[in-house]
Amino acid sequence: MKRLFFGGIHPRYNKEMSLTSDNLTTVTPNQVVIPLKQHIGDVCQPLVKVGDRVLKGQKIGDGEGMCVPVHASVSGTVSAIEPRIHPNGQTIDAIVIDNDFKNETVEFTECDTPLEDLDLDTLVHTIRESGIIGMGGAAFPSNIKALTSMGNVDTLIANACECEPYITADDMLLRTDPEPVIQGVLILQRLLSPERTVIAIEDNKKTAIKILKAFAKKNPSIEIAVLPTRYPQGSEKQLIQAITGKQVPPGKLPIDVQCIVFNVSTFAAIHNAVRLGKPITERIVTVTGEGVRDPQNFIVPIGTSFDDLINAAGGLTDDIDRVLNGGPMMGIAQADLSASVVKATNAILCLKKDPNFKVENSVCIRCGKCLNVCPMRLKPLYIARYVNAGNVEEVSRLNVADCVECGSCSFTCPAKLPLTDKCREGKQMIKEEAKK
């Protein structure tokens, strides 16, 4: 198979275990905890107080600066506004809403203005007001991304790769409700006027590919790029390299090579915002892994706790080892399962202990496998050695700043060395050195 990006690995994907049904259950929790920061940027201020009744879709938090508003995902009463654990590990102020199960919403204003007549400034404003951030995991404010790219985009890319093992949320979205994704793509096409519009998907999603190709027939401006399955194909820089052949320069952004990438869920959210007037109040989350009894995908109101979702999926097995927010390669291990699903949560992964961690003698034998799999062309074995030696100059010379922390090096190392951690440590060393 042709290699479209450097390096990469082939872990076992285990996607079938969560693709059990095409009918998604919507979870209805007793309580939701909505963190006031679900994006990269500044924390929102609460717009409600304890005791207020809120409706689904009502804006309950907003702020100045680099802020994206948050909305109530159920109707009910605000029972508390207090610091709560966030799946990224921090403790952040959150609004706790007790669900009244009446599912009452605010009034949503629909809009069926033809694409050509949509006002661009209003579009960007709507995207912000609806709380849209990168739902593939990065959580960057989509309005800022769109605004800073306008007029400069050659290639608009919809990321349907979902290259992490186990996760099937985007796949399920395309199987069950693909129309909003396509409409969202067309809306952003109108906003950014790219020369090329591509929906990129890995070839292990045969059903979704068929669906996408059918849509592409009706919308000939949209290309469907079926890419060979390899991790991390869905990583932004690697995806841009695969689709356009261009490499994002060190320290720069995709727009510097005239590209812009959004996750397919983000496109669907943009359609819902612009056409249906709905902010983000729910998303598809894959609850999966050998450590959970009934792995499956759910439609989840934002703010539902990990606990509630895991129970809905049959509960954890006795030999559970770790629960992750995200996939096995880049996910964050959770200590407290009362953490809530945020807009960028695409999976809750429950893993048993992986026997492949075992090794007889954990020393670097200079096999070079780490160097061969690194998608950013780094030399992890040398980064690790110089980090261990405390040599900041050499670590910096090895371009550790380019590391995307995909985890391919640690995955591949036959000696099970914590190479990704060494790269993180290297980045930290450089930061601390710069402060001096």
Binding site: F6, I9, P11, P165, K237, Q241, G245, K246, Q247, V248, P249, P250, V257, I320, D321, R322, V323, L324, P328, M329, M330, G331, A333, Q334, A335, L337, L351, K353, D354, N356, F357, K358, V359, E360, N361, V363, C364, I365, R366, C367, G368, L371, M376, R377, K379, Y382, N399, D402, E405, G407, S410, F411, T412, C413, P414, A415, K416, T420, D421, R424
Partner: protein
């Protein structure tokens, strides 16, 4: 319920150091089998003593220095087997043991153990043995058990060896236990490439360079024949496929590996033509071992996203 808190990634591939070592041992078996068939059962004894003494020395080292036993990673066993492959079948057993002491304790353990040695332990031990046991390891037996000159000795004269190219390819010629059959060694090499243990870069660069250089600087009438004999004689195949590809002592970058192979090939020719001994492989590889890190430092991919990295206007 105690949830493990660890950093990503949370899964690992099923590659493991001792699996790699096992693959190397498997790859050496065809050559060992040919050695036993052509040179006799004593070859098996030499190999066994070599492996056992290497493992014992490493175990003793771990015991004396109060470390966790490292012999289970398989690297000592591989060193022992490789050293045996470079020795003639008539080598005195006690010399095999001394050689392994040098390989495991001096060249490997004293430099920091697995992953830290600068020089290939088996080859450095062979070089050491050539120094202190000149007779023990330069007497070679032919098929009939009679001491005879190896094809390399003939080529020093210069003259083409008595054995046919086919005989040398199959293994019907005098030489050390592991070096006589190019076919068996190539089979092992292909196995290692298929198993993704080694990349063909170093062997191809090494053998390719020696082929080209011996075509240019040939010593008998026919350049092609001379070149073919140069590649098939001596420890070239064993060295190029199993010694030069040793992870610890060779470069990891792609360009670095090619340069390393070319350097080994050129040095082998130079040492064969101008050196005291008919063989040049041992010292060629050892010298390239010394510059392996240096090569790594200045090779490596261009930085992602820079003009040299490719793909950008």
């Amino acid at each position: 319920m105690n949830l493990t808190l660890a950093t990503s990634p949370h899964i690992r591939g099923n590659f493991r150091t001792n699996k790699i070592m096992l693959d190397v041992i498997i790859a050496l078996i065809p050559a060992l089998v040919v050695g036993v068939i052509v040179l006799g059962l004593r070859a098996l004894l030499v190999a066994a003593v070599s492996v056992v003494s290497a493992v014992v020395f490493e175990a003793l080292w771990c015991l004396i220095t109060r470390r966790k036993l490292t012999i289970v990673d398989g690297s000592a066993g591989v060193t022992g087997l490789l050293l045996a492959m470079t020795l003639p079948v008539t080598v005195p057993i006690w010399q095999v043991i001394v050689g392994n002491f040098f390989a495991i304790i001096i060249v490997k353990a004293l430099f920091g153990g697995l992953g830290q040695n600068i020089f290939n332990p088996a080859l450095a031990a062979r070089a050491f043995m050539m120094l202190i046991f000149p007779l023990g390891i330069t007497r070679y037996e032919g098929l009939d058990g009679v001491t005879s000159a190896t094809p390399l000795h003939h080529m020093v004269m210069p003259a083409t060896p008595n054995e046919s190219l086919l005989d040398m390819f199959l293994g019907k010629c005098p030489g050390s236990i592991g070096e006589i059959s190019a076919l068996a060694l190539i089979l092992g090499g292909v196995y290692l490439c298929v198993r993704k243990v080694i990349s063909p870069r170093i062997p191809l660069a090494y053998i390719g360079t020696l082929t080209v250089l011996s075509l240019i600087f040939y010593k008998t009438d026919n350049a092609l024949i001379w070149s073919a004999y140069s590649v098939l004689s001596g420890g070239l195949m064993l060295g190029a496929i199993f010694m030069a590809t040793d992870y610890v002592t060779s470069p990891v970058t792609h360009l670095g590996q090619i340069l390393y192979g070319v350097g080994c090939g050129a040095l082998t020719l130079i040492f064969r033509y101008f050196g005291l001994y008919p063989e040049g492989v041992t010292y060629a590889i050892l010298l390239m071992n010394a510059v392996a890190w240096f090569i790594d430092r200045y090779t490596g991919f261009a930085r992602f996203g820079t003009k040299k990295g490719g793909g950008n206007k």
